[in-house]
Subunit: 540 residues, 2 copies
C-alpha cells in the first residue's frame, strides 16, 4: 500500500466521520425528499445562512425566539376576524399578528398537550420518548434526561433560556424544565383540571363529579391516601438547583400562578432585551379555567372559555407590546399557536368550528391548529402559509435560526425538519409533505400532500373510511374507495419505511418516583409520593 493511497483512505474515513457527525437522521420519508431536492435546498441554505448572518451583524446577536403555545383551540376561531364574529368573542391581537406576519393554515401538532409539548421540546414524535399520553397526578414518569431539548441546544448556542407556565412533561425530577435545559423556569407538572377539582363551583360545569375534597360524611372511605390531596400543581427552579413548589393547588392559587407566569414572561423579556446574549422563551400559558366563580361574562359567547381566550389574546398582546417597547421586535421571532384541537368532551363551550375531531383525535380537528408567526422586518405582513409544517419542525427551525444545528443529536431520529425557508420566504417553501400521526402509541394515520390515510378504525382488508382528500373534504366526511386505489400501495410503502426506522430506533419511556428534587414538599405530598414509590417498587 503506498503512502498516498493510505492518506486518501484516511481522508475519506475522516470526512465520512465528520459528515456522519453532522448528519441529522430524519424519518425515512425525508430521505426520499432529500434525494429530490438536496441540491436545491443546499443552495437555498447558503442564502439563508447569508441572510441570518446579515441579521446577526445588524443586531449584534442572534435573533431572540419566543414560542407561545396554548391549549385546546378549534382551528379558525382565533386570528381570523370573520370567525371571531361567528364565535362571539374577539381576538384582536392574534388577528393583528396574522395580518403582520404569517397565518399558518396547515400547522400540525400531536393530538394532545403532553405529546405536542414533548414534540416541540425534542423535535421528535412524542411516542419515541414515552411522552405520548396526557398524564394526571400521580404519574411517576416524564421526559427522559437523554432527550435533548431545544433549550439545551440553544443554551449550547449561547442563548439565555426560560420556561413559563404549562409544561405537562411529567412529575419526575429529570423531567423538570430547569433540568431540561432551561436557565429558569416556573411550570405546571400537569394540566389545568386538577386545580378545578378543588373548587366546589366546579360542580356547576360538571367538572368535580367523582371527586370531593372533603366530606363531612365519610362513609365507606377507608384509604386516606388514595385521593390526590398531595399533588403538586406548580414549581419553580433554576438550572442546577432544586425545585420549589410555588403555591399549593387551589383554584384561587391556579389563577394566581397564571398571572405569575405572564408577569415572569414579561419580566424575562425586559431583563434579557438588552443583554449580550439572545434569548429563547417558551411561554405556554395555562390560561384556561372553566369555572365562572363570580366573574363577569363580557363576550357575546356567554362561556368561560370565551373569556379565557380573550384573556389569552390580551396576554399575547402584552408580550408583543413589550417587544416593541424594548425595541427588539425586529430581532425576535414569535411563534404563537395552539397545542391541539378543542376538548369537545368538556361541557364548557369548546366546540368544533371547521375541522372534525378534537383533542386526542387523529382527524384534522385534533391536530391542525391555529398558528401565527411574527418577525418584524423579516416576515412579510399578510403572509399565508398553506404548506404542511409540524410542531416538531419548530425544534429544528429554532436550532437553525439560533445557530444550534451542530448540537442536534445524530444518534436518533429527529422528526423535525428545518423549515427556516418558510419563515424567511413564506408560502410554498416547506421541505415536508408528510406527517405520521400518532394517538398514544398507535400509528393512527399518515398524511401525504393532500391525502390522508387512516390506519385505525377502518374495515380491515378493504378500503372503507381509510382515505380522504383534504382539499376536497377538509372535514373528512366522506371516506373514498375507488378514487384512492392508486394511493393504496404508495401509502403502504410509506408505512413500511417508517416502521423499519422505528425498529432500528426503538421507542422508550422513563418512569420514576414523582416529586423528587422539590425541596419544600408538603406532608401530604410526601404521603402521596410514598404510595407511588411502593407502586414503582412492585412493578409497573
Amino acid at each position: 500500500m503506498n503512502k498516498n493511497y493510505l492518506i486518501t483512505i484516511i481522508m475519506i474515513l475522516g470526512l465520512s466521520i465528520t459528515m456522519n457527525a453532522q448528519k441529522i437522521i430524519h424519518d425515512a420519508e425525508q430521505d426520499i425528499l432529500q434525494e429530490q431536492y438536496g441540491d436545491q435546498w443546499a443552495s437555498q441554505d447558503k442564502e439563508i445562512d447569508k441572510k441570518l448572518k446579515e441579521l446577526e451583524k445588524k443586531f449584534g446577536k442572534k435573533p431572540n425566539i419566543i414560542h407561545i403555545m396554548w391549549d385546546d383551540n378549534s382551528f379558525g376561531e382565533v386570528g381570523i376576524k370573520a370567525f371571531n364574529k361567528i364565535r362571539g368573542f374577539d381576538t384582536p391581537r392574534l388577528n393583528k399578528m396574522g395580518e403582520d406576519g404569517i397565518v399558518f393554515t396547515r400547522m400540525y401538532t400531536e393530538p394532545s398537550c403532553t405529546p405536542t409539548r414533548a414534540a416541540a421540546l425534542t423535535g421528535r414524535l412524542a411516542a419515541r420518548s414515552g411522552m405520548h399520553t396526557v398524564s394526571f397526578p400521580p404519574e411517576g414518569a416524564g421526559l427522559p434526561a437523554e432527550e435533548v431539548t431545544i433549550a439545551e441546544i440553544l443554551s449550547e448556542a449561547g442563548y439565555s433560556t426560560a420556561f413559563f407556565a404549562k409544561a405537562h412533561q411529567g412529575d419526575i425530577e429529570e423531567s423538570y424544565m430547569h433540568n431540561q435545559g432551561f436557565d429558569e423556569a416556573q411550570f405546571s407538572l400537569y394540566n389545568q383540571f386538577p386545580p378545578m377539582f378543588w373548587h366546589a363551583e366546579g360542580e356547576a360545569v360538571g367538572l368535580t363529579k367523582g371527586f370531593i375534597r372533603e366530606t363531612t360524611e365519610k362513609n365507606y372511605i377507608v384509604d386516606q391516601t388514595w385521593r390526590p390531596y398531595g399533588y403538586i400543581m406548580d414549581v419553580e427552579g433554576k438550572k442546577g438547583e432544586k425545585a420549589r413548589e410555588t403555591l399549593p393547588p387551589t383554584l384561587e392559587n391556579y389563577r394566581e400562578i397564571s398571572k405569575q407566569h405572564q408577569e415572569k414572561a414579561l419580566d424575562f423579556i425586559k431583563r434579557k432585551a438588552n443583554d449580550d446574549k439572545p434569548f429563547y422563551l417558551a411561554y405556554w400559558p395555562n390560561v384556561y379555567d372553566l369555572i365562572p366563580q363570580g366573574q363577569e361574562i363580557t363576550t357575546s359567547n356567554s362561556s368561560m372559555f370565551a373569556q379565557n381566550i380573550e384573556r389569552l389574546d390580551m396576554y399575547i398582546g402584552q408580550i408583543l407590546d413589550e417587544l416593541k417597547a424594548q425595541g427588539i421586535s425586529e430581532n425576535t421571532l414569535v411563534v404563537a399557536m395552539a397545542d391541539n384541537g378543542p376538548m369537545v368532551e368538556v361541557p364548557a363551550a369548546m366546540y368544533q368550528v371547521v375541522f372534525n375531531g378534537g383533542k386526542g383525535d387523529y382527524r384534522e380537528g385534533g391536530i391542525r391548529v391555529a398558528a401565527f408567526a411574527q418577525w418584524d422586518g423579516v416576515i412579510d405582513a399578510g403572509t399565508y402559509v398553506g404548506d404542511m409544517i409540524t410542531v416538531h419542525d419548530l425544534f429544528t427551525t429554532f436550532a437553525k435560526i439560533g445557530g444550534g444545528m451542530k448540537y442536534i443529536p445524530t444518534d436518533r431520529i429527529i422528526d423535525g425538519i428545518d423549515q427556516t425557508a418558510v419563515f424567511l420566504y413564506g408560502d410554498g417553501q416547506s421541505r415536508r409533505d408528510y406527517y405520521h400521526v400518532y394517538t398514544g402509541l398507535s400509528h393512527a394515520a399518515t398524511i401525504k400532500q393532500q391525502y390522508k390515510r387512516v390506519w385505525v378504525g377502518g374495515r380491515p382488508g378493504l378500503v372503507k373510511n381509510d382515505f380522504f382528500d383534504l382539499y376536497q373534504d377538509p372535514r373528512e366526511m366522506r371516506g373514498m374507495m375507488a378514487q384512492f386505489l392508486w394511493a393504496w400501495g404508495p401509502f403502504d410503502m410509506m408505512k413500511k419505511r417508517h416502521d423499519a426506522m422505528n425498529k432500528k430506533y426503538p421507542f422508550y419511556s422513563r418512569h420514576g418516583v414523582p416529586f423528587e428534587g422539590i425541596e419544600n414538599l408538603r406532608p401530604e405530598s410526601k404521603i402521596y409520593q410514598e404510595t407511588v414509590k411502593r407502586t414503582m417498587e412492585t412493578g409497573q
Copy 2:
C-alpha cells in the same frame, strides 16, 4: 254634527289612510322591535336620507345597484384567504372585495336556489308565493304576477333594470324575468343539472344515471314524450315583448350561454354607466358545470367545482373592474353572495367546510352564506358585519337606497327589513335579530339572536335536538336541554305570532302551462308543453 268636528274626522280619516298607505307590513316579530327602537330608527333614517341625498347630488343620480348571486357555496371557502389555502383554490377577487368592503358573517338565505331567488326578488319568505321548492322541468308553475319584485319597484323609481343568468323562477309566462319588471333579461328557467344530463361524460361524475338521451336499444320504452327532450334551458326577452329561446339544451350550449350572461352583464354596465338613469342589475351566474370534458384542472383542489369557483371569482373581478373602468364604482353598490349552502349530496367536491348541513337544510350550513358588499367611498374597507341580515332584507334595502320605498306594496307581509344602516354604518346596525327558516312549506326552525330552535325532527313533547347556541356551537352539534328551558316559552310565543300573521295573509301559489310566450318553440317543446297542459286540465 258641527262643521269643525266633521273636518276633524275627515282629516283623521285622511291621515290614517295616508299613513296606512305608506306603512309596510312586516312579520309580527318586527313590530316588537319597532316598539323598542322606532324613535331611534326614525332619527337614524333622517341621517340616512340626508346622506343618500348628498350622494345623489354629488353623482347626479341615485346609486346603481348590482346584486351578484351564485349557487351552492360552503360558507368560508371564498373571500377568506386562510380558507382558500385549506380548500386548495383561490378567490383573490372575492377576498379583495371583502377587504375593500363588508364581509358578512351572518347573511341568511333560504335553503335552496328557487326560494332564495324569490326571496331576493320579492322581499318575502318564498313560501308565501309558492316559490318554496326547487323545480325541474316540466314545472308548470312560477313566480306569480301579483308578486311585486325589486325590479318593478326600482323601475318605478326610475331605474334601468336587467337580469342575467339563473332565474329558476318557474316556466310559466308571468314568471319570466322580463315580465317581472326587468327591462331586459336573458335567463335560465331551471337550474344547471338538466344540461348536464345531455352529455355522456356526465356519467363520469354519476350525474346521468337514470337518463339516457338516446339509446339504440329501446326495449320497453313506449312513451316518447315522457323524457324531457323538449325542455327549454335559457330564454331572452324585453319588457312587454315575447321571449325567445336562445340555445337548445346541450352541455356545450350551456357553457356558451354562461359566457353570454357574463358578456351581457358587462355590456349592460357599459351601456348604462353614463346614462341619466341609475341601473339595477341582477346577475346570478350559472357558472357551475361539474363535468370535466377535457378541461385542464389547474387548482390544487382537483375538482371541477374548484375550477368553477375560480371562474366565478374571475367573472366577479371583471364586473368590479368594469365599474372602475367606467368610473362609477363610487356610485354603485355591489352585493355578491351565495344563494345557499353546498349541495353535499352531489359527488362533485361540494363539501361542508364550517357549518353543518348543506343545500335544502335548515341548519346553518344550508342557509348561512358567503356574502360581501362593496361601495367605494361609502362602505369602509375592512368592515366585518356580524349582524343578522337576510336575503329578503336586500329587497327592502335596495328599495330604500333606490328611492322606491313608496312602491313597496302594503297589502301583504314584507319580510325584508330596511338594512340601509348596515350598509352605510357597518357592524351592529341591524334592525333584525330573528329569522323564521322554511324548508319547502315546513316552518323548520326559528333563530333569535344567538339562539336557534328547531321545530322539526326533535322529540315531540320534550327538548331534544331542538335548541342550539350558535355562538358556542356554530355547527349545531349539541342540542341542549336544561340550558334552554328559559327559551322554551319565548320561542313558542314567536311562533304563535308568526302563525297568526300567516293566517291573516295566507300562502298561495301559481300554476299554469309552461313555455307560453316563447315565440320560437321547438316542435319537441310543443309536445312537452301539450303533455303538461293535459295535466293542468285534469287537476293539480
